[in-house]
């Protein structure tokens, strides 16, 4: 893995141009700042930063910004406002559901864990909260990091996030849009977990990160009355 800038030549020849690269004739170039890598015969660049661009099936955590006729407008930190229709929530409906009732399900400022069920170049993202683990956020603490770093928070086969949850005793739900929900037994556990998340964001591409973060957490947890 080496650091590349837009326009840098990655390779020439029988490779595929993967994420954040582009092909010109027989040459493949980087299109974003990041670390270049090879996956099989596909060249990719793992970016450091970037605005969240929704993808189908992404789990995201968003904030309700408006209540409409039949659903809610949700800010998922993307360049497009997204829509959560009432029909995509597991709410039983009998008769008419007016705006006031919608407001009681989700008010402006509420947070929801949702899944992206539609998004393309011509329309804004569509969300659903039908599904396990989806729905309104009622407690916990929010961390906001660069969406490009979410894979590092999760780690290879979930190794990093499993370690975080175990050592801090918290539940951690990472949204692909960079918004992460941490629910702990108390505010100290939540704070330590959030601190760990920010360290991972800052030092994502360094060696021995998992061990360093675990050491920090154990150090911090020692000083706190746990439980």
């Amino acid at each position: 893995m080496h650091l590349v800038a837009p326009g840098e030549l990655l390779a020439e020849g029988p490779y595929f141009a993967g994420e954040n690269t582009y092909r010109e004739g027989s040459k493949i170039f980087a299109s974003r700042v990041g670390l270049a890598d090879v996956v099989g015969n596909k060249l990719i660049v793992v970016p450091f930063k970037g605005t969240y661009l929704p993808r189908l099936d992404d789990i995201v955590i968003g904030r309700v910004t408006d209540i409409g006729m039949s659903g809610w407008q949700v800010d998922i930190s993307a360049p497009y406002p997204s829509l959560l229709p009432l029909s995509e929530t597991p709410i039983q409906r009998g008769g008419e559901t007016g705006r006031r009732d919608l407001g009681r399900i989700y008010g402006v400022g509420d947070l929801a864990i949702a899944q992206v069920i539609a998004f393309d170049r011509t329309r804004d993202p569509l969300l659903t909260t039908k599904g396990r683990g989806l729905g309104k956020v009622t407690r916990g603490r929010i961390a906001r990091i660069s969406p490009a770093k979410i894979p590092r928070i999760i780690g290879k086969k979930g190794s990093m996030i499993t370690m975080l949850k175990k050592e801090t005793g918290t539940e951690i739900i990472p949204g692909q849009n960079g918004v992460i929900l941490v629910i702990g037994r108390g505010p100290d556990q939540e704070r330590i977990a959030v601190e760990a998340l920010y360290i991972i964001e800052r030092e994502a591409h360094t060696r021995g990160l998992t061990d360093r973060v675990r050491a920090m957490i154990l150090e911090e947890m020692k000083g706190k009355s746990v439980g």
Partner: protein, 255 residues
């Protein structure tokens, strides 16, 4: 030195007022990621120029009606601080700032893969904190880095530099006194990988031969500046790695 006092621009050794050779760039310092809130940012010092560039985007288009169906709207604002010039400048945008905002956007937009983000805006802000001629070029150099720092997909970086003519000689990277007294000024923005010029302006008087000479001088300088841009990106993103590796060593020693 009071205004309107003419000075000799090239001395008997062929050196300029600030000691530079005819084809020498002013000293350049570039830094990436200097602001906390902007999505991407960069700061450049070139001679006495001090220019800050920041990028927000892609973000929701406001107002909605300006959005384009098939790509991002790129907006650019070049602006000078009131204390950036010899005489205080009113903060309200001048006609010059409006013209420069346009040509700078046109210099950067071809490099941006704006088709990835339909119905959004990518906003580029350039603030000149101290001006000493060549600010549109310094602004483009910094803005290209700010765009890259923001993680916006680009075909490549854009570098910019001006050449000109003073006392009958073609020179590189005019300073303010040289621009005011000189015979021509030719700012150029260039993309080295694709060999494309995206900004080209000129005012003054140049023969065809002088024009070509000045153009080639600018392009050569742009290539050097492009290398500096890559170094600046390297510098920003490799520092964390080094810092944390140091920490690792300390932990080992303690154990």
């Amino acid at each position: 030195m009071l205004a309107n006092q003419q000075v000799r621009l090239i001395d008997e050794n062929g050196l300029r007022v600030d000691g530079r050779r005819l084809d020498e760039l002013r000293p350049i310092k570039v830094e990436v990621g200097v602001l906390a809130r902007a999505n991407g940012s960069a700061y450049i010092e070139q001679g006495k120029n001090k220019i800050l560039a920041a990028v927000y985007g892609p973000r929701e288009a406001h107002p909605k009606h300006i959005a384009l169906a098939d790509r991002a709207v790129v907006r650019c604002r070049y602006h000078m601080a009131p204390f950036s010039t010899e005489e205080r400048k009113s903060p309200a945008p001048s006609r010059r700032e409006l013209e420069l905002s346009k040509v700078i956007r046109e210099a950067l937009e071809p490099a941006i893969m704006s088709e990835y983000f339909p119905r959004t805006t990518i906003d580029i802000f350039i603030e000149v904190l101290q001006a000493d001629a060549g600010t549109r070029c310094g602004g483009i150099t910094a803005a290209a880095l700010a765009l890259a720092d923001a993680g916006i997909p680009m075909r490549e970086l854009v570098a910019a530099c001006a050449a000109g003519k003073i006392e009958g000689r073609v020179v590189l990277d005019l300073s303010d006194v040289e621009d005011k007294q000189g015979e021509a000024d030719l700012p150029v923005a260039y993309m080295p990988k694709s060999n494309i010029i995206s900004l080209l302006q000129m005012d003054g008087q140049l023969s065809e031969e002088e024009f070509v000479q000045a153009l080639e001088m600018s392009i050569g300088a742009c290539r050097k500046i492009y290398d500096m841009q890559r170094e600046a990106l390297r510098g920003k993103y490799l520092v964390v790695r080094e810092e944390t590796e140091e920490k690792e060593e300390i932990t080992e020693v303690k154990a």
